[in-house]
């Protein structure tokens, strides 16, 4: 399982970037259709929204591979997204308007379909792990989630943030 983890990465090529663009286009089209069925958002506007998000992603993954620092694309993508939407930036209104036409949950619904299919590979390993591993995993997730929520709540109340 973990062998995948360790192998080295490739260099980017024009071919690779082309693959990224096509994959993001497919993802955008599926998301926009789901976004229309589930939330009635107009197809044109949400397509522009997905286009903006795809470009941010593309620049982020490209920067990760081109810039010699050891920084994950997640950080670059977050930074670009925040800067573009920051109130006062000239891009802020346009980006916020179109991106708001794409529901987060529409993106996630498509994303998790791929996750579900990819997850199939782990199914056999999962079956060999006993119920004890499942109990411990559920406890780990529950206590991490609730630990985070309780601490955050206490600090928010202490610092006087109104609900």
């Amino acid at each position: 399982m973990m062998v995948d983890f360790i192998d080295g990465s490739e260099n980017i090529t024009v071919h690779g970037v082309f693959n990224w663009i096509l994959l993001l286009s497919i993802f955008s089209i599926i998301t926009v259709i789901g976004n229309f069925i589930g939330y009635d958002h107009p197809i044109g506007d949400s397509l522009v929204g997905m286009g903006i998000l795809s470009v941010i992603t593309l620049v982020g993954v490209w920067m990760e591979r081109r810039i010699p620092f050891n920084i994950s694309s997640i950080i670059y993508i977050s930074a670009i997204g925040i800067i573009l939407a920051f109130p006062g930036m000239p891009t802020s209104e346009i980006v916020s308007y179109y991106v708001s036409k794409v529901e987060l949950l529409s993106v996630v619904t498509v994303f998790l379909a791929y996750v579900g299919i990819g997850m199939g590979k782990s199914w056999n390993e999962f079956k060999t792990l006993g119920p004890r591993a499942i109990i411990v995993t559920m406890l780990v997730i529950a206590s991490t989630y609730l630990g985070s929520a309780f601490v955050a709540h206490v600090i928010l109340v202490m610092t006087g943030v109104p609900a």
Partner: protein, 294 residues
């Protein structure tokens, strides 16, 4: 993993996986896979969210995102569906690493719009990271009572997604009991984590009177999928706060990917070890025979 690989190197499981799958093959050519996803999405969005009432007004909401994930897994496992096989699963996995970017970008745009709030709530965001340590005090004793030995150190120090797996493998070595523990946590978490955190969130938001932003920050404790699955019921429970909740969940998830690995290295793992050596002689059971690889 080689001992000489630094922790920084092991920060890149996403990049390596994505590159291996995407740069070599032509993943967009697998029409069967993408059309299947489109059909799953259409089915899921047409059904829409379902609310199930449990006792005393506790409500569990099942979101379309859980249908697509479950159906995706079923399609992979179902024998008659010949066009979704191991190869498609690998492509899906590689593509997913790219699509995480879109999800992160959406959360980042929400964060940018609510930047002023994030400055005000910085202390809560940072300190909730320490709340993650609750797992050590709750899950470790239970793991010991269930008969786990040193595996429990890997299993209970953190939520066990990719960055944490890399930390444990780097520290204890690939074939150590600690690594076996976190691999088990990783696999089980991959299969049930998303569904489990979604139900956990539904129940928590209807049962606990906590601050909406506290729930938002808690969404981000695990992987991007878990964050998303947890956001579903949270957004539904607090209408009108969508942008802020997305912003806090996004930021918290970002911290989970970046800062939390240092908390795992410097706080969580040493603390787990300490507690293990103190508790194991008291409540540890007779070692049970290892399952799986060993």
């Amino acid at each position: 993993m080689n001992k000489d690989k630094s922790i920084h190197d092991s920060n890149h499981p996403y990049r390596e996986k994505t590159d291996k799958r995407i740069l070599k093959k032509n993943p967009w050519k697998d029409y069967g896979l993408h059309v299947t996803v489109l059909v799953l999405v259409i089915i899921a969005e047409m059904i829409g969210p379902i609310q199930i009432k449990l006792i005393n007004g506790i409500e569990v909401s099942i979101m379309p995102l859980l249908y697509t994930m479950a159906l995706g897994l079923i399609f992979y496992l179902a024998k008659p569906i010949k066009w979704i096989q191991r190869k498609q699963a690998r492509i899906a996995e590689g593509a997913m690493m790219l699509f995480i970017g879109v999800l992160i970008a959406k959360l980042a745009v929400s964060s940018g719009q609510s930047m002023h709030l994030l400055f005000e709530m910085g202390p809560a965001l940072m300190l909730q990271e320490l709340g993650h340590l609750a797992t050590i005090f709750i899950a470790l004793p239970v793991a010991l009572l269930l008969g786990f030995k040193r595996e429990s150190i890997g299993m209970t120090n953190s939520i066990g997604r990719e960055p944490e797996v890399a930390v444990i493998v780097d520290k204890y070595g690939f074939n150590s009991p600690e690594s076996r523990g976190i691999f088990a946590l990783f696999v089980v978490g991959t299969i049930i984590g998303t569904v489990f955190i979604s139900f956990l969130t539904s129940i928590s938001v209807s049962l606990l009177p906590l601050h909406p932003f506290a729930f938002a920050m808690a969404c981000g404790v695990g992987s991007a999928s878990m964050n998303a699955a947890s956001l579903g019921p949270t957004l539904a429970a607090f209408p009108g706060l969508e942008t802020q909740i997305e912003a806090f969940a996004g930021f918290s998830n970002l911290l989970s990917f970046s800062i939390s690995i240092y908390i795992v290295i410097f706080v969580a793992v040493p603390l787990t070890e300490k507690l293990y050596y103190w508790l194991e002689p008291k409540i540890g059971r007779k070692a049970i025979i290892e399952e799986g690889e060993g």
